[in-house]
């Protein structure tokens, strides 16, 4: 054993980012047509946590997710999934896009959409078979929509559509999940089902990063929190980060939102 091991500076990109960290982001800036949307993002998400991202409209919450998933080009910096670029770790990541991002009038059934979660593993030209369908049904049962498997997706309620997207991500059997506003405009039963699902995933040691908009439920749902307004205002365990001062910094002069925030704080 060498007495004085040389410090391995070159091989570690950033000393603060452990390689087993589900998501490490360094110096990330994304700009659309010269206007920066998110700036200098620096994050280290701990494994097995339920992470909420909150911030006002236009704060860059979705953009942050999309940059991590290589859906928008990064102007600078990088994001690593378990120590490697996302492109090499797709099999470890499940993605739930915003519900409004697709046309629900598309001629496919709920089961067809959920089965799309198996496409990557299937590879080119191979068709969905018995095994894939069974896996999809399992995921649909997990989110409580197995009864609607053969319905055309436009005949589902908003909450059911959201659950279809969740089931599609579950089929991937990932370790890290990105969810873009899964609670937006869903019924109470769906919200409850999603929360249960998130907790189950966390208890299995998986990490979920969720864009969220309802300050009142933040401390109830998430154990880790990112307050975002173009920059990271604060990030850390919810109980440390979710303070009046931080919310003020995040939401600035938006008074009605601040009021909601103080209500939320008084409840927590």
């Amino acid at each position: 054993m060498p007495a004085n091991p040389a410090p391995a500076v070159a091989s570690i990109p950033h000393p603060e980012h452990p390689p087993d960290c589900p998501l490490a982001i360094h110096d990330l800036t994304v700009a659309y047509q010269r206007k920066p949307v998110i700036w200098d993002i620096e994050l280290n998400i701990p494994e097995g946590s339920l992470v909420g991202i909150v911030g006002p409209n236009g704060a860059g919450k979705s953009t942050l997710l999309k940059a991590c998933l290589d859906l928008v080009p990064k102007t600078s910096g990088w994001a690593r999934v378990y120590g490697k670029p996302y492109a090499k770790q797709r099999h470890l990541v499940g993605y739930v896009p915003q519900r409004e991002s697709v046309d629900w009038d598309f001629p496919v059934s709920a089961l067809d959409v959920v089965a799309m979660g198996t496409y990557r593993r299937l590879g080119w030209f191979r068709r969905v078979g018995k095994k894939e369908r069974a896996r999809a049904m399992e995921a649909m049962e997990q989110v409580g929509i197995a009864d609607y498997a053969h319905r055309q997706i436009s005949q589902l309620s908003g909450g059911q559509q959201q659950r279809v997207f969740l089931a599609r991500a579950l089929v991937q059997d990932a370790r890290l999940y990105f969810m873009d506003e899964p609670f937006a405009a869903v019924d109470a039963a769906t919200e409850q089902a999603i929360v249960e699902l998130l907790k189950t995933l966390r208890d299995q040691g998986k990490t979920c990063i969720v864009v969220h908009h309802d300050l009142a439920t933040v401390s109830k749902y998430f154990d880790w929190l990112i307050l975002l307004n173009m920059r990271v205002v604060a990030a850390g365990p919810t109980k440390d980060v979710f303070t009046r001062e931080n919310l003020h910094k995040t939401y600035g002069g938006k008074l009605d939102l601040l009021e909601n925030a103080s209500i939320a704080l008084s409840r927590s």
Partner: protein, 442 residues
């Protein structure tokens, strides 16, 4: 005359048979790839593409003449068409991504400029000494009559290959059509798949030029797919139907154009496809107008019948003494809800037809045994729902009646049981109305 028609329709003549079959295969391929184009919401790109082929046809002709040929070789002309069509598409995409012009502006620009350029080029090649450019303009409107066996075989063969390739890519095309963001996140090469899809569209457009013409080929791409969508919510059936509708339009179009030599095939194809489209729009089982209206009428009738029975039941409840199925005054029944005299008569007739009520005296009706039971069940559901809304959904009591009216009609047995569970304290008796029931007197 009649014999000629049947001969051509039923492909007795060898040359027509090849032409008609090739146009049918063209219809199959354009139906399938058109369906994907429709689902990708890019149907109009097909129009840009087809108009952008014209300069290529003229230039290919000029080039072939310069190289010493007649300039009439179909593969050469189609190659020129494909190159210039692709150039038009690329220009459109470039305009869209480098400027802030909207899609429709970029499309309109490329479409008209390339078509204008094409017309100018065709005008110039007519003047080339020693070359015969007559017939080139048939690519604009299409002319099956000018197709010889070799052309038809080429077109049919290529169409078949395009269909097979499109079906092969079904999973990948479906994914990018439905959710391209998710497809990208999963590592699918969405841009390459888009290029593959547009390449197939380009091939179909180019081989369709001679039979259908560049102005009308867009119909072959859009109409079969759009018509098929009215009949099904399943992609597999939609592709199959679009292919069949394409084939049918192609068959009739090419045949009629063969019979009446003045009728361009493209025009007939469009008209046949449009006729199928209109029939589909009205009668399509999945989203046609007629089935939808029928469903609405059925629902309205059911709601009306339920309202009528409930009104009768509420009137009976207000009678002094124990609840009994005594005759109900027509006038008080009419006054119980805000319905028009015509509606009221119609609902009464429906209820009578279903044996829910009978005429007791000229001025009164009486619920039948089944009608009485049905009325009790209906009233119960309604009040359960009202109570549910009041207790669980924070609805002001005065607003409950209307909401409950709308929702009870979709209450299934499961939900009713669930409501009963949630409102356990009601027990089995019929809960009283939470708001004052409208007085029956008038």
């Amino acid at each position: 005359m009649f014999e000629t028609i049947t001969d051509i329709l039923f492909l007795k003549d060898h040359n027509t048979r090849v032409v008609v079959i090739s146009v049918m295969l063209l219809g199959v391929s354009s139906g399938i790839i058109g369906a994907f184009l429709l689902l990708r919401k890019r149907s109009l790109m097909g129009d840009v593409l087809s108009h952008a082929t014209l300069p290529g046809i003229g230039l290919a002709f000029a080039l072939m003449v310069a190289m010493g040929g007649t300039g009439k070789s179909l593969p050469g002309l189609l190659l020129g068409a494909a190159v210039s069509g692709a150039a038009g598409l690329l220009l459109m995409l470039a305009i869209r991504s480098t400027t802030r012009l909207r899609d429709d502006v970029a499309m309109g620009f490329v479409l008209s400029v390339f078509f204008g350029l094409g017309v100018a080029v065709l005008g110039m090649v007519q003047k080339i000494p020693g070359a015969n450019a007559a017939g080139l303009e048939s690519f604009i409107y299409g002319k099956t009559a000018s197709m010889v066996f070799q052309d038809a075989a080429l077109i049919g063969g290529v169409a078949l290959v395009v269909s097979v390739v499109a079906v092969l890519f079904k999973k990948e095309f479906t994914l990018i059509c439905f959710d391209d963001g998710y497809a990208t996140s999963q590592g699918w090469p969405v841009v390459l798949l888009d290029i593959a899809m547009l390449a197939l569209v380009t091939i179909v457009t180019v081989i369709g030029l001679q039979a259908v013409g560049l102005i009308l080929i867009i119909a072959f791409l859009i109409i079969p797919a759009a018509a098929a969508r009215f009949w099904t919510h399943r992609l597999d059936y939609m592709l199959l139907l679009a292919a069949l509708i394409g084939a049918l339009s192609g068959w009739l179009g090419a045949s009629f154009s063969g019979i009446f030599s003045d009728l361009p095939a493209g025009a007939i194809i469009v008209l046949v496809a449009a006729a199928i489209f209109i029939i589909s729009m009205f009668f399509g089982t999945a989203r046609g107008v007629v089935p939808r209206l029928r469903d609405q009428a059925r629902l309205k009738r059911r709601i009306g019948r339920q309202h009528l029975l409930r009104a009768a039941y509420e009137i009976l409840e207000q009678q002094p003494g124990p609840l009994a199925n005594v005759p109900v005054d027509r006038a008080s029944l009419f006054a119980h809800r805000s319905w028009s005299p015509r509606e009221f008569r119609r609902f009464l007739a429906h209820a009578r037809a279903e044996d829910h009520l009978e005429t007791a005296t000229p001025d009164a009706i009486r619920l039948s045994e089944s009608g009485f039971g049905e009325a009790a069940r209906m009233t119960r559901n309604h009040r359960l729902w009202e109570l549910y809304l009041i207790r669980h959904a924070d609805v002001a009591p005065s607003h409950v009646d209307r909401d409950a009216d709308m929702v009870e009609h979709i209450l299934g047995a499961d939900l009713v049981r669930q409501l009963e569970d949630e409102l356990g304290d009601i027990g089995n008796h019929l809960p009283e109305s939470p708001h004052a029931v409208q007085p029956a007197a008038l």
